[in-house]
Structure formats: structure tokens, C-alpha cells
Symmetry: C2
């Protein structure tokens, strides 16, 4: 994924010479060693890192947000209260043009949900409905359970599935590979006549910890109720069936969609001193699933990107370009914040110089990913060398993000992502255990510092970052 530096340098020198930009472009000084063009930014970078890591301000703000408002599902009062709080706090920080840009969001309501084994002896089975699932009739749905470990196995056993409850029991490998059972399992099971779908939680074994997240339905098969079970319960059901015991489950879920409701993206800026129309965009999403406190997913992404701007304000830094913070709404179940932002700012999409997202937590060891052209990648990797005091290694690939993708696509904007350790992140992802206490102040401060340095340099450098 990472281009070799020598190749990049030769290409970039050629581009720069052809463009006659030798004397003004930061590219001209790039070399395999420390990039001399960065010298103009080193002192400020050091100040930002020192300011961020000298106290626990950002962690305390993260704790205040998650302690006070808890989880923040789209359409909930708590999300709207958190939005109002963020506008107020951002204003008091000295950010400019702070506003809530209206977004209509879907409102999924979990309702009461419970399940039980009818056989073996009647007893409760803990479930956690998947976000967006349809509910059951009031009396629930009941069926024998069929366990499959893959879609291929489901197809091979298609004749067994009608009228049954399918448990997708694929062991967790990584999120990208495993999440398809959560997103697509109910639809595929329904195609074969299943009455409900259970999904082994998309995450490693925890402490009987179910993971929620969105389920999708497609035309052509009726939507059926879908819920996660803890890995322990998935394994238990598989063992019972392997022993020849009949496993019959009744599932009762009050889940439903209600009418769209008003929400908002929170936006605040440091207006650029020379090129205010050019924007370095940073953000995380303020909404969360309705379990846990949405601390790593993604209050912390909001806090660390916001903190990047607050640090600049507190140090009296006003870069050449505008730094814009967006705390997105409705990332989890609709992406309405992202699409509304792209629509509202469509005319200015190409003015976005860089789009930064923090939606993978900040657990150590963290890294940074970038997606963009070769020239931009080389410059960003140079900037990354300023983050050495934070223990962040070379910037790699994978700079996308669900919330920045629409505006980046519209404007051809390079994207950068802060990437927390995935093992720690997915252990608590979409669970009741996504709480602030397992994130350290140091992790929050380092993420904020890293993003502040990147945002500062990309907003300050004379030439805008190439596409």
C-alpha cells in the first residue's frame, strides 16, 4: 500500500520543475531525510504537541460528554442535547461561525426485546437487536435454530431453513470480513424462508458481550427480525445442536422505524487568514448506537478533531486556510449528516483541501492512514514525521471515512484517518462496554495533537495540498 519514497521523490521533483514551482512549492526541498520544507512548521507543531499533552482537558471533555449524555442514537433526545452542548462549548472555545446545520435523520426505536429458549428447558437467551431490524409480532416468532458458519453453508442447507431461525456463527476474523453476516445475514436467510436471524457478535469473545450494528434488507425477500448473541451463546447453541439436542428459540422484538426527526451537524471554524474559502475539514460523529456511551464510537473522534482546533485557538494560531470541524450526525444508521453536508456544500466541494476523519478510536498503538494522489501522499508523509514525538509511525494507506466520503467524492478531496488499535476498538465496538474509562487521557491528547499538527500544516502551507 505504501509507495517507495525514492520513486515518489523523483516524480515529484519532475512535476515541480515542469510546473515552474520550484521556488514556491514546498515540494522542492523534499528528500529522503527530514524534509526541510517542514522547518517553517516545526516550532508550532512542537507547541501544539506540548499544549495537547500537558493536561487532560480533552479527556475530561470526552468524559463530560459521555457521562452526561450517554449513548446518542439518531432521533434521541440525548443526541440533540449533546448537539446543543457542543455548539455552546465550541462557541465558548472561541471557534468561529459555530452553527448546527440541520439534518433530518431516521429514527429507529429498539423497543422491548427479549428471547428465550423453548428447548432445552425454557430459559432466557440474551439478545441485542441489530440496528434497523424490524420487530416481531407482539407474541414473537418461534423456530428451531439452524447454525451455519458461512453463507456457503447456508446455501448448502437451504432446504433446512424454511420456518427456522438461522444463527450465523462465523468466528470473528476482522471487522471487514466478518461484518457481512451482520449486514447481510437476515436478507440471505430470508431468501431461504427463515423467520428470524441471529448473528454471532461481530467481535472477539468478551464477557457475554453482544455487539449491535446495522442490518440491511433488500427487495425480494421479506425483512425478518435480526439480533446479535454473545459469542458464548453462539458457541453454546452450536454445542447443543452438535449433541443432538433440539434448540428452539422464541424471539420478541419491539423494534420499529418512526418518522424522520430533526438533527444537525455541528460545525465550527477557524477562518483562514488568507484563503478562507479553502477548507481543511476534520470531524467525528456525535451519534452512536443505543448501547454503551459511544465513547470510542465516536465521541472521541468528535473530541480529538474539535480539540485540534481548540488548541490552535488557544495558541493564537490562525492558519492561511480555514480549519473546519464537523461533528457529524447519523453516521451509524443513515449517513444523513454526511450526505446533507455534501449536498449543502456541493458548490464548494472542490475547495476542501483535505478531509480528516477520526472514527476508529484512539487506542494505542494508533496510526494514520491517507488516501490521495502520489504528490499529496508524499507531502502528508513528510508532515507525519512531525508526529514522531507522539510515537506515530509512517503514514500508510486507508485514509477513508464514511462521513467524509461524500464531500471527498464530490470534490476529489484527499482523505486522512486517525486509526486506533483495531483489536482494542473492535473488542468493545457497538457494545455496552464502549465507555470512556478504557480510553486513557494520553491516548486522547496524542490523537488531538497529531490531528492539530496535520490540520495546521495543511492549512498553512503556501500551496494547497495536491489532489
Amino acid at each position: 500500500m505504501v509507495l517507495r519514497r525514492s520513486t515518489v521523490t523523483l516524480r515529484m521533483l519532475l512535476v515541480a520543475l515542469l510546473a515552474g514551482a520550484w521556488l514556491v512549492s514546498p515540494v522542492h526541498t523534499q528528500s529522503p531525510g527530514p524534509a526541510a520544507w517542514l522547518d517553517a512548521y516545526r516550532d508550532v507543531a512542537t507547541s501544539l504537541i506540548e499544549a495537547s499533552t500537558s493536561d487532560d482537558f480533552a479527556w475530561n471533555r470526552l468524559a463530560e460528554l459521555t457521562d452526561t449524555y450517554g449513548h446518542r442514537l439518531s432521533g434521541s433526545a440525548n443526541l440533540e442535547q449533546a448537539i446543543a452542548w457542543a455548539v455552546e462549548q465550541m462557541t465558548s472555545d472561541g471557534l468561529e461561525h459555530v452553527r448546527a446545520e440541520p439534518v433530518m435523520v431516521p429514527r429507529w426505536v429498539r423497543g422491548d426485546e427479549h428471547a428465550e429458549f423453548v428447548s432445552p428447558p425454557r430459559q432466557a437467551l440474551t439478545i441485542l437487536g441489530l440496528g434497523g431490524s424490524v420487530g416481531t409480532p407482539p407474541e414473537g416468532v418461534e423456530g428451531d435454530v439452524v447454525v451455519v458458519n458461512s453463507f456457503a453453508e447456508l446455501r448448502a442447507r437451504a432446504a433446512d431453513v424454511a420456518g427456522k431461525i438461522v444463527l450465523f456463527n462465523a468466528p470473528f476474523t476482522n471487522y471487514g470480513d466478518s461484518v457481512v453476516y451482520r449486514t447481510d445475514g437476515a436478507y440471505v436467510a430470508s431468501q431461504h424462508g427463515a423467520v428470524a436471524a441471529l448473528v454471532r457478535s461481530i467481535g472477539p469473545p468478551g464477557l457475554r458481550t453482544p455487539h449491535t450494528g446495522s442490518v440491511g434488507y433488500e427487495p425480494g425477500a421479506p425483512p425478518i427480525p435480526a439480533a446479535a448473541v454473545a459469542t458464548e451463546d453462539a458457541d453454546r447453541i452450536a454445542r447443543l445442536l452438535a449433541r443432538g439436542a433440539p434448540v428452539r428459540v422464541r424471539l420478541t422484538m419491539g423494534a420499529r422505524m418512526e418518522a424522520d426527526t430533526a438533527s444537525a451537524n455541528v460545525v465550527g471554524e477557524i477562518r483562514g487568514r488568507e484563503r478562507p474559502e479553502e477548507i481543511v475539514l476534520l470531524g467525528g460523529h456525535l451519534d452512536s448506537w443505543d448501547v454503551g456511551a459511544g465513547a470510542s464510537d465516536d465521541a472521541v473522534g468528535c473530541i480529538v478533531t474539535w480539540e485540534a482546533a481548540r488548541l490552535m485557538v488557544s495558541l493564537g494560531i490562525r492558519p492561511r486556510r480555514t480549519v473546519r470541524i464537523v461533528l457529524w450526525t447519523n453516521e451509524e444508521n443513515g449517513l444523513r449528516g454526511a450526505t446533507e453536508y455534501a449536498a449543502r456544500h456541493a458548490a464548494h466541494a472542490a475547495n476542501h483541501v483535505l478531509a480528516i476523519e477520526s472514527d476508529s478510536g484512539v487506542f494505542a498503538p494508533a496510526g494514520i492512514g491517507f488516501s490521495g494522489g502520489v504528490a499529496a501522499r508524499s507531502l502528508v508523509r513528510d508532515i507525519g514525521t512531525l508526529l514522531a514525538p507522539l510515537g506515530i509511525g509512517e503514514i500508510g494507506g486507508g485514509g477513508g471515512g464514511a462521513d467524509i466520503a461524500p464531500i471527498a467524492r464530490a470534490g476529489g478531496v484527499p482523505m486522512l484517518a486517525y486509526l486506533g488499535n483495531p483489536d482494542r476498538y473492535f473488542a468493545i465496538h457497538h457494545t455496552p462496554a464502549d465507555t470512556v474509562d478504557r480510553i486513557t487521557p494520553d491516548e486522547v491528547s496524542k490523537a488531538a495533537a497529531a490531528l492539530a499538527v496535520i490540520a495546521y500544516v495543511t492549512a498553512e502551507m503556501p500551496e494547497r495540498l495536491p489532489r
Copy 2:
């Protein structure tokens, strides 16, 4: 806790000489090196260890028990079904005189329970009612929350407590020291006029994992509802109050006591070939709290003690004395199984040679504790050397157990306990995460082997173990 071997040896030699038992007692050959008196038992010990560790029979039986019947609270249908299953299985194993000795047990019913923050913004607070708690009125009880870290702090703030909900937030140190807040907190808070008690879960931080367990009430203060909260929620409430935010909680619990119901201790034996009236007693408790599967607490204690006898039967071993397995009922909330056994067998209490309990799990690294007289301790420590292949170190102190204590007290019986690693045990103790999957087959086999060897030698040695 451990006596020095040289001291023990001298004392024991003296005792043996004075008793004129030199020629018949196993004591006479004891020395700091391998005890020669054990030579007669080495081959059988090796056979028991090999048989136990050659397959996963015991783990599979543990999984079948916990997978099929789930948790097994006194008074529940699942406990009674598990008892019937155990009688059937034990009989088919070839144990003798297998029976269910009737015991009337209390029946506490959790009912529906939930809590919410009234302030900060209204949102759910996950609780897990303590076993034996009284319920609330149907509309719940509501109060501002007062956080204290100790009973001393509660007394110092006694004037603040009336009409409030007290949260005991002492960090977990070890079970013995910390559990007093769960057992006594509600009573002490009630003495000062509190309307309910919340207790930081008695265990280390988990994954938003609440720990239940018994709460006690005393005359002189009205019983008030009591529930556990996860460590994360306790910390959150403490942070909110430290920030000056009012924290107000409404607690609704349907907990209640119902009439005593019929249960039973499951008893099975290998009748002794020469001294059937002398009994080596082993057991764990079959009941559990109504969360998790009660796998470590204490299905595994039932399985490994029972397995010790099954291994002897399968190898055709009939020791001199009777080996009796008891799967106790109602350990968690009444100890009725233990007290009923002591009453029913009072006339034969002194015939119990050794009482063995496994109720601390079998997590590695495991150990063994013994409580008894000096002479017995020395012999038991000799026997412990036979367990070296299992990685079990020198037998130490701490051989008690809640279920064996009544009969041991009545008969002056030495006690021995199998002691799993306490850090792993208390991480899941009384939680939904007490499931079979975190216990390895190896841990179960080793515990069964160790107990089989100890039971065999103490049932076979010519002279009964001294008091």
C-alpha cells in the same frame, strides 16, 4: 499459613511415639524427602491422573450441564431438572446408593428490574439486583445519589444520606475485603435513612459487567432495595458528582421472596470395602445465581468432585473407606443443603474423615488448601506431592468451604479445598460471563485428577486421617 516441615515432623514423631503407633501409622516414614509411606499409592495415583487427563470427558459433561440447564437458582425449574439429570448420570456412571436427599430451599425471585437516570438527562442505568434484595413499590424509588468509598465515609456524611440512594464505590481489592459492601451496604445505608443502595460490582472492571450476590438485612433498619452497578457506571456517577452535576436515579425492582420449595442434595457413593462407615466427602454446589451459567460457580466444582469418583469406578478402585459425592443445593442464598446434610447425618458426623469442597473454580494456576490438625496437615502435604505431575504446588492453608463447614464443625472433620486462580475467578464471579467456554478441558481434568488422588489415598490409607 504454612508450618515449617521440620517442626511438623518432630511434633508428629512425638505424637506417634506416644501413641504407640509407630508400626502401624503412616506417620512413621515421613521425612523431608518423598514420603515412603506413599509408595503404596503411587501406581494408582498415576493411573487416576492418566485417566483423567487422557480425554475431555469431564469438560464435556460440564458443558452439557451448563449448556442444557443454564443458571440454576434455588427454587427454579432448571435447578430441579439439573438435579434429576445428575441423579440419572451418576447412576449410569456406576456410583452406588445414588439419591436426592430432600432439602427445602428459599425461593427468591428477581422479577423485572430497571433503573434510569432522572438527571443528567433521562437515560437508562443498567443494574443487577442483589440476591435476596427486597423490591421497590411498583412506581420505583427515586433519590439523589450520594457516593461513598467506605463505611467510614458514610458515617462521616450520615446527615446527607436520609432520603437518598447511597452508592458504595470502594474499589475492588480482594473478595474478602470488598464483599462487605455488597452484603452489609444496604443495611448500613438504611440505618442512616437511605431509600436504596447501589454497590460498585464486587470484582475488577470488566466489560460493563455487573456482579450480583447476596445482600443481608438486619433488624433495626428497614430493608431497602439493593443493586449492583458495573464499575464503569460507578465511576461515571462519581465523576458526574465531582463535576457538580446532580445525579438522581429511579430504581424499580420486582424482587421478592416466595414460599420455600423442594430441592435436594444429590448424593452418590463408592462404598468402602473395609470401613464403609468412614466417609471421605467431596462436593460442589449445583445451584447458582440467576445470571450466567454458573459454570465456575459452581457447576465445575460438582463435575470435578463427581469425576473423581467416576474415575475410581472406571478403574475398578474400591477404597477401604466410602467416598461420598454431594452436589449441594442452595449454597448461594441459604446454605440449606449444607445445614440439612449436617442435620440428617449428625449421628455420623464424626465418621467423616475428610471433607473436600471445590467452590473456587479451577482456573490455572490452581492450588489446594487444607484446614486441620498438625498431624493431618503433614500427611495431606505428603499426599500433595503425588500431584506434582499436575503442576500443583505445596498444599497450603485455607481448606474451608461453605457447604462442608456445618458437617465439619459437627464432626471435627479436617477440610480441604481446591482453589482456582482467584483473579480469573472473581473477574466473572456472579456475572453473566460465568460460562463454560472460559474454562479449559485441561483445567477440569487436572482438578478432577487431583481430587481423585487425594480422595483415593485418604479413603485407602490404613489409619484414618487424624482430626
